[in-house]
Symmetry: C2
Subunit: 343 residues, 2 copies
Amino acid sequence: MKLSRLGEFGLIERVRRTALTNSDVILGIGDDTARVRNRTSSSLVTSDVLIENVHFKLTWTSLFDLGYKTLAVNLSDIAAMGGVPAYLILGLGIPAEFTAEQMDEFYRGIKSLAAQTGVSLVGGDMSVAEKLFISACVIGHAPYPPVTRSGAKIGDDIYVTGTLGDSALALTLLKNKRQNVAANTYKYLLARHHRPTPRLRAGALLARKGLATAMIDVSDGLLQDLDHICKASKVGALLFQDQLPLSRAYRTLAGNAASREALSGGEDYELLFFARQRDRSRIAALQKTAGVKITQIGTCVSCRTGTVVLNRSGKPVSISFLGHDHFKSNTRPKRTRSVAHND
Amino acid sequence: MKLSRLGEFGLIERVRRTALTNSDVILGIGDDTARVRNRTSSSLVTSDVLIENVHFKLTWTSLFDLGYKTLAVNLSDIAAMGGVPAYLILGLGIPAEFTAEQMDEFYRGIKSLAAQTGVSLVGGDMSVAEKLFISACVIGHAPYPPVTRSGAKIGDDIYVTGTLGDSALALTLLKNKRQNVAANTYKYLLARHHRPTPRLRAGALLARKGLATAMIDVSDGLLQDLDHICKASKVGALLFQDQLPLSRAYRTLAGNAASREALSGGEDYELLFFARQRDRSRIAALQKTAGVKITQIGTCVSCRTGTVVLNRSGKPVSISFLGHDHFKSNTRPKRTRSVAHND
């Protein structure tokens, strides 16, 4: 059914009827505001926009996956603080030719991840627009002191969860229509791009145990996000190129050394964090409960050093790219003396 | 300066440096999430999208006014629950040709109203987009039991704050370029359209004193929003056409009787509420503290009656329009037997 037939209020009612909710949602969709219970004395709040032809193409993604990813990228920010996600608010601009069934598919994707993570859709707003525009806001509880970007100390180890570069590699495949790759490799990489896993358990464990001194999620690319921590903490970083965790699919397609996609591709939605050296064994022990591999990839040094990527021989490799900036065509490093290149 | 030169992170830093904030904002712009203090055991959450060429045209509005209105329309929802607004989160899609100075102007408009209402900008996300897209989310405290849409009872009086139809009349003037109206009339109406006043004090007073049985803000047009309350409360309404409050400017341009703009124009951002008959004098006494005129415009009846607008002679007037629906070109009444026409 065309949305122009269902109407704004018909669509809202359709969403309301099937929205996942729980007893913390005192008043959900259908009034001027939602009313939600605060489980902790402070809340975490994050927001992400996803714009057609900027963040996604409708020919590349299903609406189910787009819904899933909309929630996932916001949950990833909550994970990076060690928080517990609770409430989702959605602002949508929807092309007039969309159907109610397409929107159902989008909401099914959201609900699929919401059900796994205890998130309730509590409200939002929608209107007609030329292109699909999604703005999501997630509110989370903070049962443990949140981990910010600014607590890293010289001498800390640098870690990352999961593997890097899969999502960016998938994007390259989508762009180049390079489908002459093994079906399972292709499928794995596309799933990493379309349905990233927010590392909520790892983030919450690190916060609860007080193990992370600084943390961020890798959304703009490892080097860019590392730079955010380094700036906020006023430190520098040495990264060991051959220690960057790469998936089998990545190695198959892009070789064994971390290349551009892994260093600055973005949209990994893994956690990048710093921890004291003395906590190495505790970090290692955390992996099983967290349900994700955790790899040490570097060490924290003085800010005078900047961010330096060292190759297998311990030599700095030069950088020609940093990460993604939505208003620039590409971002060049300003303060780093050197960073990796594809090799 | 072009945003493509300043970059996403440059713009975020520019916004962060000048963002209004207070001690309730434990962690503001610049980390993965904001962290905000919860002053009450539950929070109110609302969201509104404003889309270029749907909600506004850049040739009709200044960016200052657009920023002001972005916050105002969200605060109006908080007002309609009797809440106290606290935190603003902004999701933006910005055309690449925009300049940093234009965005400064937009944020100045936001800050102008934020400063008056104690609201802190705590975070958001921004990206390049073809058209300007604004999605705002406001979180508020709930110091008093919030007033919902569902508590209206048969026999209640129906009230509205301020005057109706000014904003819609301004829109008609903008559309028709009908500037052959007196300068002060034109200026007044445009201000009502571009800088609506969220009735926060009136809303909070009504909630605190437990005077409103149901409340909503008039954003989609009086009849449409009245219908929302009637549906949620399972009641009907009689409206007295000649009691609808009209501004002098409205009367000058559109005559003394409430016409289409006042009945279904939308974007009034006044409060429409129901209250018990025995509280009439208390409602009247509230006006001074609330800083806004409050007018009784109708009475609550059985849902079997539907919504009926009565003219001066007490006769039902027929309806040909209800209010705004973002996916339909116009909305016709479904369950109302009769409503007003322009006369």
